[in-house]
Symmetry: C4
Subunit: 195 residues, 4 copies
């Protein structure tokens, strides 16, 4: 019961985040391609963030499928994750409007890093609540993606001040890494839901 409402609230917040990001693409006044052109970087940063929020929703969905107990600690770890994700519209708009400049790129990476760490903490809280028989623990295995991603974000933050495009390529690479859905949990929960 508690789980259903945690999911509903998270879904609501994620649905709003993913949708209001598009409001950063301000409707241009003219009706020519030249009026549309300045929006291309904003659009690209929107696509990148849409993929990231989609990944978070997807993994969050699998994470909670595997969770058995929802404790107060889990609720707050979840709110902490939502807080960092709620900064996506701001950093996405800022990065897009400044054509992927150094500082906005680094700050975007920092928000990605904080979101990744928050997700990691949420995962830990759920495993701690579920104890030794945690489905999640068995499903995650060594969780190499969860460990490599923050390191790559750190590299991207530093790289932003030398070569911002390089940071963007790292953001894209990490996204592609995660686009593969978390089969581990799916497999442990039910053999019938594999793709």
């Amino acid at each position: 019961m508690g789980k259903a409402r945690l999911e509903a609230f998270s879904d609501g917040v994620l649905a709003i985040i993913i949708t209001i990001m598009v409001l950063e693409m301000k409707v241009p006044h003219g009706d020519t391609l030249a009026d549309l052109a300045p929006l291309i970087p904003v659009f690209l940063s929107y696509v990148l963030s849409f993929i990231y929020v989609g990944i978070y929703w997807n993994n969050h969905h699998h994470l909670l499928l595997a969770a058995k107990h929802i404790t107060g600690g889990v609720l707050w770890a979840n709110l902490n994750l939502l807080f960092w994700l709620s900064l996506f519209p701001f950093v996405t708009g800022w990065m897009g409007e400044n054509h992927f400049a150094a500082l906005p790129t680094a700050i975007y990476g920092a928000v990605l890093l904080m979101a990744a760490l928050s997700y990691f903490i949420l995962q830990q809280r759920i495993m701690a609540s579920d104890g030794a028989q945690s489905v999640l623990k068995r499903a995650l295995g060594n969780d190499w993606k969860g460990k490599v991603s923050p390191l790559l974000y750190l590299v991207a933050i530093g790289l932003a001040f030398l070569w911002p495009l390089g940071s963007q390529l790292i953001f894209l690479a990490v996204a592609l890494l995660w686009l593969v859905p978390d089969r581990r949990i799916e497999r442990h929960l039910s053999p019938h839901t594999s793709d």
Copy 2:
């Protein structure tokens, strides 16, 4: 269980899209009919898009009623559909503010086209997951609406540069075509829910 949350998230995103579109109608400062008049094209484009998002919600609702398995592939096909639908507020506002000019009309048609193709892909993924006993497959039959709509959007995109009003009429005609709810699925699921 997975299906419930997919529906909840999609409902959230669709509810937000349909509602924030109205924010493109900026409150005018004066209080006369003359102040309201410039908003008429924005209002008309809002009505058109409201009907389209309503149709998508309606059909999405029937589509998922018929789906048995939610795989990772289905989740991503659904996110892809939501991405294109999330561009509705932008293209609606742009088309309305420019009084249905050629390029905004063509871009609006392009977003409709991408949404239709994404819906088709989602439908395919669900049928593939459900396999031979797919209720959806039997319910859809030859799916002529799903095949004709993208062709009509293509025509509308080309026509926009010659006669934008013609494109609008096509958009309206396709909407009316779909306004008839997808009885096929309703009929196959339960004979008691027919209108």
Copy 3:
């Protein structure tokens, strides 16, 4: 099952409408009472609309509790209601910004009227779907509130051009009339949920 999703989508739209209305109260730049004063009419129109959306949510909740079958016709009647309610943020902002002037007041009344008629249509569709054993039909009785409200809105629309404050008083009176929750349905569904 279909009912659950209809409720979820409607809840989403109503929740967004009620919340984005507050965005029409633009944060003032100064920090004195004089900076806050111009917002008072906007705030008052927000309070009025919040109550109205609250009433619609409340009655919609009871209406669907009493509904047995969700047909395609019910889905579209519901979307039609949501369309008119989605215009609340616009007319609320316009009326507030123009200090309850004649035309914005009349248009506000017109949107209230259309929402009331849409609610009536939705009610009819549900009773038609449920047929002779409709719980709703018995619960509604003669539905005098549903019949009187549109008439009062009509009066308020006309009065707006002579005495706008009078129209506001009518809007308020109708709201108070409905604030009493729809006991009829509650009573017919379960004797244990009475207040």
Copy 4:
């Protein structure tokens, strides 16, 4: 059933409130740290309000877990709470933009006070509906937090005109007080969900 929809609607409104607050952080045009600096107070006020809305969601979640009957009175007490919470984005933005000046701080405190009183009323309505066997009544005990918080808000409102920073410290202290989740209800509902 009625409870599920009350939760869904409240979750929707709370999810939107918590997410649109971030829209008050307007994307700056420049790409330097100097462009970001003016946003720091807006960011801090956002963090404070995010924590408060998180606390309300958390406690609301526990409150409804303990509720047995949802009457019309409970629905309206809940809408009243949501009304005051819906003013958070406005007062948060105003306080942040004016660098925690006296009047915005006092008004922020007033909204916190009204939200706290509304929560108290909602709690009373639920206990009244549930009658003598109310789980909530036993779980709440003397409810000292619920009684002390409004008093502290009152002090903060007065203090704002002498020492606004002191008011902020009180807001923060009350938030920390509530960050500890409401174990009382958790404990009374199930011994297995303790953290």
